[in-house]
């Protein structure tokens, strides 16, 4: 039982790290501010979610679990809002989104 | 220190150098926020969550916002180059100063002229150790408070904290004076 739990925690943590890493790769590879805002916030959300899930599993039933879940709730509210704020600021500045065939990187 | 600690230390040092060297003020501010976040994690790793919390709230949060508002109100100098040139004498002086401080405050064990290793501050048998131990042992019975950091701040070093709080207040008043405003608005 304990081994299964440990394995699950490991898998969740690895998944979280993987998605966070992919998001970092995306920020470097994607061409403009809008597409980068996509990956910077979104892949992060799942990464953080998986890590919090690992924390929940590691603690078992305690008040810390409620706090971890609350953390997840706030990430889900604030993370997309931050991405939206970035995209919006770019749009207000009049930055045109990159389209296919545009050489600008 | 663990591998995570070394990685964090490297991150903090790189961001600190980048902050000093970037010519674009906005970029420097953003890197500085990353530096503060790294420092906050570092403090937490070194079991000083109080300091970590302060660093995260003040360093990464408030300072960044205040600096951003400042460049929004004044100028953001444009830069032709990404990095500023290193001022070699100044850099040498800073590194030398840091090295001297590290040895004198006892962060690094060195051999003195008798060939004995000078103890690191806070290590067993040094005065630092006895003070730390004293606080950790007697804080609860003397003050009834379990967080020794708060006890040191508010009780043992209460007068210092008072001075610190007045400095914060004075900083606010100074900004009022500098901006020629008659009131806190």
């Amino acid at each position: 039982m304990n081994e299964i739990r440990l394995g699950a925690i490991f898998v969740l943590l690895a998944g979280g790290v993987f998605f966070t890493f992919v998001s970092a790769v995306g920020v470097i590879r994607l061409p403009d501010v809008y597409t980068r805002a996509h990956t910077a916030s979104q892949t992060d959300t799942l990464g953080a979610g998986l890590v919090v899930a690992a924390v929940v599993l590691a603690y078992g039933v305690e008040t810390e679990v409620i706090k971890a879940l609350l953390l997840l709730v706030f990430i889900f509210i604030t993370n997309p809002t931050a991405a939206h704020a970035v995209g919006r600021a770019a749009y207000e500045e009049g930055i045109e989104p990159w389209t296919k065939g545009d050489e600008r990187r | 220190m663990s591998a995570v600690g070394f990685a964090l230390a490297g991150f903090v040092i790189i961001t600190a150098i980048a902050t000093a060297m970037l010519r674009d003020t906005l970029a420097a501010i953003i890197v500085f926020a990353a530096y503060s976040l790294g420092m906050a994690l570092f403090y937490t790793l070194l079991l000083a969550p109080d300091v970590g919390l302060t660093e995260a709230a003040i360093g990464a949060g408030v300072t960044t916002i205040l600096l951003l508002v400042t460049i929004a109100k004044t100028t953001r100098p444009r830069a032709e180059k990404v990095f500023t040139a290193i001022n070699c004498p100044a850099a040498t002086l800073s590194v030398g100063l840091v090295a001297v401080l590290l040895f004198t405050v006892g962060s690094i064990p060195v051999e003195n002229f008798l060939g004995e290793a000078t103890p690191v501050t806070g290590a067993a048998g040094t005065p630092g150790e006895s003070v730390t131990g004293h606080y950790l042992q007697s804080t609860y019975e003397q003050t009834g408070v379990t967080n020794a950091v708060t006890a040191v701040l508010a009780a043992y070093r209460g007068f210092d904290t008072f001075g610190e709080a007045v400095v914060v207040f004075a900083a606010g008043v100074a900004v009022v004076v500098v901006l020629h405003r008659g009131e806190f608005l």
Binding site: F74, I77, T78, T81, H84, A85, R88, E92, G94 | P49, D50, G52, L53, T54, A57, I58, G61, V62, I65, L66, V69, T70, A72, K73, Q142, T143, G144, V145, T146, N147, V149, T150, A151, L153, A154, A155, G158, F159, T161, F162, A165, V166, V168, F169, A171, G172, V175, V176, L179, H180, R181, G182, E183, F184, L185
Partner: protein, 156 residues
């Protein structure tokens, strides 16, 4: 941007405003929690005060700096910053008046019971440090955002 005859109005984002409306009370509660629990867990007046100030920053970014400044009011910031210093000094001088040393909380035991030291520290953390820090942080933000007074620059 071409010189179009009509100007596109600057609309604050509904999403940001609503998110801030939802998150603000939780951040404020957390800031006060940290302030009140500095004695037993990580935290204290500096950290809590900073978080309390940050709530105002959040509102200012979502709803505009000028309306938020009006909503907060200069009186509150002055009261917090100056009042904090007064509270801190009073607690310290109180012990002097009782014949002890500056901030010798133990002397409050006749009034506050056996936990007098703890209550005294709470008083300076909450009434003193947290108030000063939150008041000064808000004031610094609004002052910097408003710029020089000599140009009559009130619009932000």
């Amino acid at each position: 941007m071409s010189g179009s005859d009509s100007i596109r109005p600057y609309t604050e984002s509904e999403i940001i405003m609503t998110a801030v409306r939802i998150v603000a009370p939780f951040v404020l509660t957390y800031g006060l929690f940290i302030t009140f629990h500095g004695a037993d867990s990580p935290g204290g007046g500096f950290q809590g005060g900073a978080l309390i100030g940050v709530v105002v920053f959040m509102l200012a970014f979502a709803f505009g700096i000028a309306p938020t400044r009006e909503w907060v009011g200069s009186g509150l910031m002055t009261a917090l910053a100056a009042g904090g210093v007064i509270v801190f000094v009073s607690v310290g001088l109180g012990t002097l008046a009782l014949g002890g040393k500056f901030l010798e909380y133990g002397l409050y035991e006749p009034f506050l019971g056996p936990d007098a030291t703890k209550w005294g520290m709470e008083a300076i953390e909450i009434g003193g440090v947290a108030a000063i820090v939150s008041g000064v942080i808000m004031a610094l933000f609004f002052l910097t955002a408003a710029g020089y007074a000599s140009q009559g620059g009130e619009d932000v």
